[in-house]
């Protein structure tokens, strides 16, 4: 599986915001049908890394390759155009807008003739409701409902459904299970597996070892902006992974700290 050529690859990427260095010398590959779990402590640089892949930030140094060819992702539209869909850690929905309008934000379906294009509300609502229901949120039946009236988890599911619908090659999920209940989280993991089976390259960020172990083929751990470990499924024990996720401190030590 991992012998296939990578769909998306980062080569020696550095990122700094002015004087603040956030990422150093990051090299990563994700192949079709593979799930890369990106792990790391708060502030390690995970979100910054995926924002580079989403076209939100541009690398200070280094290259991005897709299907082996160097590409430039100067704006989010460039990434979307190449089939890279991202669910960012925060936001992604607009509370005072309808479900249908939220789902198609930036890629509105239109109808009409000639230059007069009208937002196709019916089509947008129908597809949005279908896709959200397929995420296991069956209570949503009306695409005109405002997103502000949904629960946090329902909103998150909407954002994920959107990315799954538009992501043709690469699906990036930044802590998608953080706001979700046990059942919905299980559903997201199922969807990640489904995307993988469809041949998408998936990048999955989580702080929960269980979720990472459940779907990950390949793990990369970021500590203070550098890759501290990069290994395949089965190469490390669950305990080792938890320790790495805590930024290198051993879980046993952390537990001892909590006790006192």
């Amino acid at each position: 599986m991992s012998e296939k050529s990578p769909v998306i690859e980062l080569r020696n990427v550095d990122k700094s915001f002015g004087p603040i260095d956030v990422l150093h010398d990051i090299s990563l590959k994700v192949s079709a049908g593979e799930v890369l779990c990106l792990l790391g402590d708060n502030g390690a640089g995970k979100s910054t890394l995926i924002k580079i892949l989403a076209g939100v930030h541009q690398p200070t140094r280094g290259n991005i390759l897709m299907d082996g060819e160097e590409i430039a992702l100067n704006r989010p539209r460039d990434a979307q155009g190449r089939g890279i869909a991202t669910v960012h850690q925060f936001g992604g929905t607009y509370p005072l807008m309808s479900i249908g309008r939220n789902f198609f934000m930036g890629v509105e379906p239109t109808k009409g003739f000639g230059p007069i294009r009208v937002f196709d509300r019916k089509k947008a609502n129908q597809i949005a409701v279908e896709q959200v229901q397929s995420m296991g949120i069956t209570r949503i039946t009306d695409g005109d409902r405002l997103v502000g009236g949904l629960s946090g988890g329902e909103r998150q599911s909407l954002a994920i459904a959107r990315a799954v619908y538009f992501g043709a090659r690469v699906l990036i999920l930044d802590e998608p299970t953080a706001a979700l209940g046990v059942k919905q989280a299980a559903h997201v993991l199922k969807i990640v597996n489904e995307a993988k089976r469809r041949g998408l390259a998936v990048i999955f960020i989580t702080h929960q070892v269980m979720h990472a172990m459940a779907v990950g083929d390949h793990f990369a751990v970021l500590i203070r902006g550098s890759i501290a470990a990069d290994f395949q499924k089965g190469e490390k024990s669950r305990e080792d992974i938890s320790d790495l996720m805590a930024g290198g401190e051993s879980m046993a030590e952390l537990e001892a700290k909590i006790e006192n």
């Binding site: 509370p95 934000m105 937002f119 209570r139 005109d144 405002l146």
Partner: protein, 340 residues
């Protein structure tokens, strides 16, 4: 009746969810009260109605793009200086220098577009709130208008006698007293309704005020859109200035501070949220009409003229409270309804 694309079924829920509904009810209430107190004072005569509708047309064509900016999370108060700047531009170009009227109009609209571009560029390139940026351009443009007027024509006001066809098109009267600005306003309302509620760009405007970061992540050209909205606002204001100049055959370079308050009051009374992300064109139209009835229609009633400011103040407070309630209803209504 006042439905942007929400539910097709007219239910209590869909009416309560519609921010234009509150603005309409507010207008109906004020109109009925004034009609009762003004029945014997010609409030309902053509002369009475056209007085406040004419006033509404000028405020209204500025208020809608001001409302777009508010929905997008920004404020534009430079309108008070754009109005005299464009008026003086057309009057000096076509009046004093006697160039064709179209040259004057295009020059005035260009001045408006340029001021909007400057506003938009500063707001998108710096972190300075648009209230401060447009406050600065308000004073800068007001000062520039005065000193350039002195420089070019050595006075701060001048007259303009537009050719017949231009007077008919931009400054005439029809149907017993309605100015042509009323018909321009109605046409613009149509275009603005399409833009905000039916075109894909309208979605982007709401997204900008709802969550700018997410809008950017979704691939929306947030900077360009914001600059375009500032330009739309000041160009519409410039157009209102042109219409006024042609109507009254004269222009003055005094800043019109009243217009700033009038447009913002119309937008808020029209149901737009000061915090952005919410509002309708038709709501703003009703907000404008309500304001105009209270400010101009009061002369045709037995109500003491001096009370109009008091009424407007109270109205504004009530509107802000109602908008907040509507927002809560709009986002909670769906939650309480979902048990199916």
């Amino acid at each position: 009746m006042v439905a942007p694309p929400t539910s097709t079924k007219i239910s209590f829920g869909s009416i309560m969810r519609n921010p234009a509904a509150g603005a309409f009810m507010g207008f109906a209430l004020v109109f009925i009260m004034f009609a009762i107190f003004g029945y014997q004072r010609n409030f309902l005569s053509v002369g009475g109605v056209s007085t406040w509708v004419n006033f509404a047309s000028t405020v209204g064509m500025i208020a809608i793009p001001v409302g777009f900016l508010m929905i997008a999370g920004e404020l534009d108060i430079s309108t008070g200086a754009v109005l005299p700047a464009s008026a003086m531009t057309v009057a000096i170009t076509s009046g004093y220098f006697e160039l064709p009227i179209m040259v004057g109009i295009i020059a005035a609209l260009s001045v408006g577009a340029l001021i909007g571009w400057v506003n938009g560029m500063i707001v998108t390139r710096t972190q300075v709130p648009s209230f401060i940026v447009t406050l600065a351009t308000l004073f800068a443009v007001a000062g520039l208008t005065l000193s350039l007027s002195i420089f070019f024509i050595n006075t701060t006001q001048t007259s303009l006698n537009a050719p017949e066809w231009a007077k008919a098109l931009f400054g005439g009267r029809a149907l017993g007293g309605f100015r042509s600005s009323v018909f321009w306003w109605l046409g613009m309302v149509g275009v603005f309704v399409y833009f905000l509620h039916y075109s894909p760009w309208g979605n982007w405007v709401f997204a900008l005020g709802g969550d700018q970061e997410s809008a950017r992540n979704a691939g929306i050209p947030t900077r360009r859109l914001k600059i375009a909205l500032f330009m739309l606002c000041s160009t519409s204001t410039a157009f209102a200035g042109v219409l006024q100049t042609i109507q009254f055959n004269a222009a003055t370079s005094q800043a019109n501070f009243g217009m700033i308050f009038n447009t913002i009051i119309a937008v808020v009374v029209g149901g737009a949220l000061l915090t952005g992300g919410f509002g309708t064109v038709l709501g703003i139209v009703f907000g404008t009409l309500t304001l105009s009835v209270v400010q101009q229609g009061i002369g045709y009633t037995q109500i003491d003229r001096n009370l109009s400011f008091l009424i407007i103040g109270v109205m504004l407070l009530v509107a802000v409270l109602m908008n907040e309630t509507f927002r809560k209803l709009a986002t909670n209504w769906s939650t309480s309804k979902k048990k199916k």
